[in-house]
């Protein structure tokens, strides 16, 4: 039997573990505070010089040219286009592979293919950039002769390929974690593998699957190198993927690495753009959370 001293000791231990873990979890809060503080200061200064209405509704972005115009919509359009088309590539392939690996493939196959796919996440994005430029674009040119050398489509495809493993690996794990008993119940009702996968396993793992989508889309939104190389750096308000565009991140990198005096207006724009990006991903996350809450099946 434990005596009182031991009990106390154990309670202390539990308490300190939870405190330590709390501290670890709050690190991310400080990161965010740091980011928000960094972004806010310059963003506020930026809106001292540029009207927030013009910024949010303007359709021309020529921040770095003489007589700059700060309509952020072209950048937003570019970002959304890459994220959307990238997801259109990555989600079906990623989820499909996850289903294949978790429900169809033999254990042996899965153990080989899964790490292989994860290599895709490790190939530096500059490689994807050149891959898009020298491999994907020429192929696209066969189908769309008018396509720009730099175009959102080829960048999106490359971004999509890069984020496939985020979806396939994380979703696969989530599906594997669904207890077999539940699967067996469905098979015993004469379900096909397809039905077991789509009606039982995916719904049960849905919250993790959506989380993996969110992570992957986040990565797509945050991706810069591929886009800069393959999609051009021409801010353009278009949803035509055959044109060249610039994303918000690409703009930030362009300025942050570039030839701009610290503290100038242009310098401040990257924080305003960064802030907007931050808010956009926040919005996406809130939506995702609502979806997860609605459809979550607990087991």
């Amino acid at each position: 039997m434990t005596d009182n001293k031991e009990k106390k000791r154990r309670r202390m231990k539990e308490k300190s573990i939870s405190t330590i873990l709390l501290v670890l979890a709050s690190l991310s809060i400080f990161t965010t505070i740091g980011i928000v503080a960094t972004l806010s200061k310059e963003t506020i200064a930026f809106f001292g010089e540029v009207s927030i209405i013009d910024f949010l509704t303007g359709t021309e972005w020529t921040a770095l040219f003489a007589n700059p115009k700060f309509g952020v919509l072209p950048l937003v359009a570019g970002t959304l286009m890459i994220a959307i088309y990238g997801s259109v590539v990555a989600i079906p392939i990623g989820l499909g592979s996850a289903i294949y690996l978790s429900e169809y493939a033999s254990d042996r196959t899965r153990k080989v293919i899964k790490p292989l796919l994860e290599i895709l996440a490790g190939i530096p994005s500059i490689v994807y950039g050149y891959f898009a430029l020298t491999f994907i674009t020429p192929i696209l040119k066969i189908f769309f002769p008018t396509i720009n050398i730099f175009n959102a489509l080829s960048g999106s495809i490359a971004v999509g390929i890069m984020i496939i493993p985020m979806i396939s690996s994380l979703s696969e794990d989530a599906m594997k974690a669904v207890p077999d008993e539940i699967r067996h119940a469905a098979y015993a009702l004469g379900s096909t593998k397809f039905e077991v996968s789509t009606k039982v396993v995916i719904p049960a793992a849905l919250s993790s699957i959506i989380s993996s989508f969110v992570l992957a889309i986040s990565r797509a939104i945050g991706e810069t190198m591929i886009v800069t190389l393959a999609a051009g750096s021409t801010p353009k308000l278009t949803l035509n993927p055959l044109e060249s565009v610039q994303t918000m991140t690409a703009f930030i990198v362009q300025v942050a690495k570039g030839d701009v005096t610290h503290g100038g207006l242009i310098y401040k724009t990257i924080f305003a753009v960064g802030m907007l990006l931050f808010l956009m991903t926040l919005f996406m996350n809130i939506i995702a959370r609502m979806i997860i809450k609605k459809y979550r099946e607990e087991y």
Binding site: E181, I182, A185, L189, E195, K199, P203, A204, Y299
Partner: protein
């Protein structure tokens, strides 16, 4: 008296472990067949081979044949989905889907092409009534099946299998978590069903086997020790071991 399922020389292995040893049995149509035997003797394993659920466990293998409707169910010609549709199953451990009660019951019918809401509603009501669960859950068909009590889950799983209107119904200890009242309702149900279906039931209750089954098979350590009419098995078992088990002198 026709044979519904004919099992010939069936051996079954989990990896290297031989769980069933040379099983030969003929399951009669529109009869209730009970499997009895001590825990771990292979009842679940055997009942699971009959709708090929064991396919889903890695590293298992079998030899021998299970003839159902004139065909070995393990032959490549047999469609396992079709087989499982016709040979329904209630598992030993209740395993409802993490979905609503309603969705649990209609899962099978929906897969098999019934889409009309009114029809599905009807199925839910009859199946749950048959499984003696309707009264308790009729006002909360939308709540999660995982919030049911153990016995309620078990009855839900029975309802789920009934909703499929199978040809053969395999039930692995379907009343283990049920009180006498619910148990007797299920037993009544089985009584009714056997006019239309062939039923195989695993039970560890001698009384239950005696009450409801037409034939009884006694298993021991992977072997089918004795099989015959229930009344005969219980009154004059041929094998000493069967007698010992039934009279409780076993072990």
């Amino acid at each position: 008296m026709s044979v519904k399922i004919n099992v010939k020389n069936l051996d079954f292995y989990y990896g290297d472990f031989k769980a069933l040893n040379d099983i030969n049995i003929e399951i009669e149509e529109k009869k209730v067949t009970a499997f009895i035997g001590p825990s771990g003797c292979g009842k679940s394993t055997f009942i699971r081979t009959m709708n090929r659920m064991n396919d889903l466990i890695d590293g298992t293998k079998h030899t021998g044949e299970i003839i159902y409707d004139g065909q070995d169910i393990y032959s490549p010609k047999v469609d396992v989905v079709e087989l499982r549709k016709k040979v329904g199953m209630v598992f030993q451990k209740p395993n409802p889907f993490p979905k609503s009660i309603y969705e649990n019951v209609v899962f099978g019918p929906k897969r098999h092409g019934i889409k009309k809401k009114s029809e599905l509603d009807k199925i839910v009501e009859t199946s749950l009534k048959d499984a003696a669960l309707w009264e308790e859950v009729k006002d909360r068909l939308d709540s999660s099946a995982w919030s049911l009590s153990g016995g309620q889950q078990q009855r839900l799983c029975i309802a789920r299998a009934l909703a499929m209107k199978p040809d053969v119904l395999l039930m692995d200890e379907p009343t283990s978590a049920l009180d006498p009242v619910a148990t007797s309702k299920i037993e009544e149900l089985i009584e009714e069903l056997k006019d239309k279906y062939t039923i195989v039931i695993v039970t560890h209750s001698m009384q239950q086997a005696g009450r409801i089954s037409d034939n009884t098979a006694f298993f021991l350590m992977g072997n089918l020790v004795e099989y015959g009419e229930t009344s005969r098995i219980f009154s004059s078992p041929e094998d000493k071991r069967t007698e010992d088990y039934i009279t409780g002198r076993f072990g």
